[in-house]
């Protein structure tokens, strides 16, 4: 973070949770992501009122209501744009965006590209479960081509989207992958993501136990990435292109300067603009 407020001692993860009971199914990975986010904020000891959690639509996009920070649950696909306006005008706030794979990569795909490119200082946490859960089980951009569903019988036949490769190619400054089954590890990734200036992208594998029961097996497949984080974009590209989607950890961290408008340089009153019109 470039402009974090002074940390407050004595805050715990619980201080960042609201009293609202999540709508998620029992066993949903998103519960652990909520834990990871609140643990990360407690680790950073950010005052809850200085944190804003912004989301779109979907199961994981319900996140803001479950937190004791400021929040905005907007429309489907536009969360990063909403967050961009907030952060650009309020650089003093810590801005997190939370959402799912359909919200971020399908309907919101264009904003994802441009958020990476614009590199505003915020952290985007995508809970990827390779399915639309809220609408009861349709394939998303990250779903395998042969996954059968009522909307796409026999599968879509389409190659899955590779979010981390897209993030790297589009200019994200921090790219990591976590797993909901490891909330402490995910919390550490989120701490680093928030601390790294610029646009940080954290994909969290977060199983949908209702529509993708097969994802219960993820806990046996995921593994820490066998390599250290790299600042070399070419190396990161090669690593991500050969990645099977289950390597966890920080996969790229750059040093690009964040984009930030200057809204604090008050020089003149509107009346000063009038001379340009005077005959």
């Amino acid at each position: 973070m470039t402009s974090s407020p002074a940390p407050i001692p004595g805050l715990t993860a619980r201080d960042y949770k609201s009293e609202v009971k999540p709508v998620w199914c029992p066993g949903c990975g998103d519960f652990s992501v909520l834990s990871a986010i609140t643990k990360a904020l407690a680790e950073l000891k950010l005052p809850p009122e200085k944190v804003s959690v912004i989301s779109g639509i979907g199961c994981s996009s319900r996140m803001p209501a479950y937190m004791n920070s400021y929040g905005f649950h907007g429309v489907h696909g536009r969360a990063v744009a909403l967050a961009t306006g907030l952060k650009l005008s309020r650089p003093d706030l810590t801005v997190l965006v939370t959402g799912g794979d359909g919200d971020g990569f399908s309907i919101g795909g264009n904003h994802f590209l441009h958020a990476c490119r614009r590199n505003v200082d915020m952290t985007y946490i995508v809970m990827d479960n390779q399915v639309y859960g809220m609408t009861k089980g349709q394939p998303s951009p990250t779903t395998e081509p042969d996954w059968d569903s009522a909307l796409s019988p026999g599968g879509t036949g389409l190659r899955p989207f590779h979010p981390l490769v897209i993030a790297l190619a589009s200019g994200a400054n921090f790219i990591a992958r976590g797993f909901s089954g490891d909330p402490n590890g995910t919390a550490r990734l989120i701490v680093d993501a928030i601390r790294t200036p610029g646009f940080s992208f954290v994909e969290v594998l977060s199983p949908c136990v209702t529509f993708r029961e097969d994802q219960r097996g993820w806990k046996k497949i995921v593994r820490p990435a066998p390599v250290d984080p790299t600042e070399d974009i070419g190396r990161a590209a090669r690593r991500l292109m050969t990645d099977d989607g289950f390597n966890l950890g920080i996969l790229y961290t750059g040093k690009r300067k964040p984009y930030q408008l200057r809204l604090d340089a008050v020089e003149e009153e509107p009346a000063a603009l009038e001379t340009q019109f005077v005959v």
Binding site: S52, A65, G71, H73, A81, G85, L93, L263, L273, V279
Partner: protein, 578 residues
């Protein structure tokens, strides 16, 4: 054409030429010089579809009194060449009293010009320009116009000096010489126009276009954040904001599309910064879903829609008043919001400032319906008054105990906590919610929140700003937006013939104001709506939502050609006999 007794004394002048001929430069200089000489006036341009270059027409109208519509016919048309004249001749109406000045080296007089019966004067503009070192035909043309209309020499010289300051002494000398040749040539032509130069300006005058005026109104209203995607004819408003916001501690961000720009301004406004975007019809369509979010989450934002011909890509460079329906009804669900329309170029300042104020005070999105005619016409106007509005956003104080973001008390306007305020955290939501902002699908919460959002707009006292009401006739003409200027002048012309009409031009289109309409039309036997669209959108809205107390008729047609005063005089006269 010299002014008839009942017409506003004015002169309409067109300069045409292909790309690079400099007719737009000359037109702007003519307007500026006339302003310095105490005139009111308008400058509009017509360009071809080419990205750069291409033929262009500079259309200037000068008058002793403020004018807000193009003249009926052009008194002077000076053509540097006739490139693609067939395309825009329809925008350059001529009469037998018009004077057309043509360069014989540019070929035969086009049929479409000859057919007007206008008087023709030949002048070898190109060859004359060659007699001056670095001389250009457009400055000769400017000199000809100045000579014909009696523009005082010193103001023309002052404007040339200012316009050419950066190009150096040589360029200025060449322009002065070319201008002088033009003035001399004008001496050989006969032209009888009104004398417009007798009145010195007593009040400060500005030259401003509607896009700049809307920008100024926005910053006067407190806007300091703009997110936007380029679109004709709103781009120059955005460019003005990008440059000028910097001086005020504000900024503009170029978004990846209109879906992003509307969400960015909602995000900024949620964070406490008054925010605006400007667009045209296609962009407004893309923004509609998120405007509903601003309604539901009660976040103030302002969208200026500089309307153009539609639907779809339509006619991007020409005006039309055809986005009223989408502005009023484009949001899904029951989504009350504000829709306003400026009544003139200069009123773009006031109406946009008022829109920002209302949006902030009522925590509501506001759509301002400007259009290409207002936005891109440069007008000489009296300095627009600076109004100090008192209404502002009601925010929740930090530490005031439990904050119910969407509390029902207070006439529907509930204090808005701004991120950073401790103890007041809440989640703004597009989901239906309860008073605390928690998602709710309960029938009771839905009804009370719908009632709340409607009540805050319906219960607000908009005062006299809601409309301009002039005159006292038993017949009323209702115009909105850019049509107001042409209607006002038409009614003045009819007034001098002894026909009295009332003019009602509403600034506040939504929420509908039936009680105010009843008052505005009290004693009126019959009203006529005038608007520039194909489906009589305002007429249907007025009848359906505003309960007019008298029978209402309509005169409407689509763009791209602007409404002309003579056209409206004829239509209103015909209607008044019905």
């Amino acid at each position: 054409m010299t002014a008839k007794d009942d017409e506003t004394p004015s002169l309409s002048i067109a300069l045409t030429g292909s790309g690079g001929a400099g007719v737009i430069t000359a037109g702007n200089m003519l307007l500026e010089a006339a302003a310095k000489a105490g005139c009111y006036g308008l400058f509009a341009r017509s360009s071809g579809p080419q990205i750069r270059g291409g033929e262009a027409a500079a259309m200037v109208r000068l008058a002793k009194e403020p004018v807000a519509a193009p003249g009926d016919v052009f008194d002077i048309l000076i053509a540097i060449d006739w490139h693609n004249i067939d395309r825009f001749a329809v925008e350059l109406p001529l009469s037998t009293e018009s004077l057309v000045i043509a360069d014989p080296s540019q070929g035969e007089l086009p049929e479409v010009i000859a057919a007007s019966g206008a008087r023709i004067a030949e002048l070898p503009l190109k060859d004359l320009a060659k007699t001056v070192a670095k001389g250009r035909p457009n400055m000769i043309a400017l000199g000809v116009v100045a000579g014909l209309i009696g523009l005082p020499d010193e103001v023309a010289d002052e404007v040339m000096a200012r316009a050419l300051k950066k190009r150096g002494d040589e360029a200025l000398a060449a322009s002065r010489d070319a201008f002088a040749l033009g003035v001399e040539a004008a001496g050989t032509m006969s032209f009888d126009g009104p004398d417009l130069w007798t009145r010195a300006a007593t009040r400060e005058r500005w030259i401003i276009n509607g896009n700049e005026a809307a920008g100024l109104g926005a910053v006067r209203g407190g806007v300091r954040f703009v997110a936007a995607y380029p679109i004709t004819p709103a781009t120059d408003l955005l460019e003005w904001m990008a440059l000028n916001l910097q001086r005020l501690g504000g900024a503009l961000v170029q978004a990846e599309d209109e879906l992003a720009s509307i969400n960015m301004i909602i995000g900024a406004s949620y964070g406490g910064t008054p925010a605006l975007t400007a667009t045209s019809g296609p962009g407004l369509a893309l923004m509609s879903e998120s405007l509903g979010l601003a309604v539901a989450s009660e976040v103030p934002v302002v969208v200026v829609d500089v309307m153009r011909g539609g639907p779809s890509t339509g006619i991007p460079t020409k005006s039309e008043q055809s986005d009223l329906n989408i502005a009023l009804f484009g949001l899904h669900g029951d989504a009350p919001h504000l829709v306003l329309a400026p009544t003139s170029v200069s009123d773009c300042v006031f109406t946009t400032q008022w829109a920002v104020t209302l949006a902030e005070a009522l925590q509501s999105p506001a759509i301002v319906l400007s259009d290409q005619l207002l936005g891109q016409t440069r007008a000489i106007v009296d300095r627009p008054t600076d109004i100090a509005f008192v209404s502002q956003r009601v925010t929740a104080d930090a530490g005031a105990g439990e904050v119910r973001r969407y509390a029902l008390a207070g006439g529907g306007v509930s204090p808005m906590a701004i991120p950073g305020a401790p103890g007041a955290q809440y989640t703004a939501d597009g989901l239906e919610h309860d008073e605390r902002g928690l998602p709710s699908s309960r029938a009771g919460d839905h009804v009370t929140q719908l009632d709340k959002r409607a009540a805050k707009l319906d219960g607000f006292d908009y005062g006299n700003h809601w409309a301009e009401i002039e005159g006292d006739g038993r017949r009323a003409v209702v115009a909105w937006g850019s049509s107001t200027g042409a209607v006002r002048e038409a009614l003045a012309r009819l007034g001098s013939r002894g026909h009295e009409f009332r003019l009602v031009s509403p600034r506040l289109l939504a929420p509908a104001q039936p009680a105010r309409w009843t008052e505005a039309l009290e004693g009126v036997e019959r009203a006529l709506v005038v608007e520039l669209n194909h489906s009589a959108q305002f007429y249907r809205y007025l009848k359906g939502y505003c309960d007019p107390p008298c029978p209402v008729d309509v005169y409407h047609r689509p763009g791209p050609l602007p409404l002309r005063v003579g056209e409206l005089v004829a239509e209103i006269e015909k209607w008044s006999r019905s």
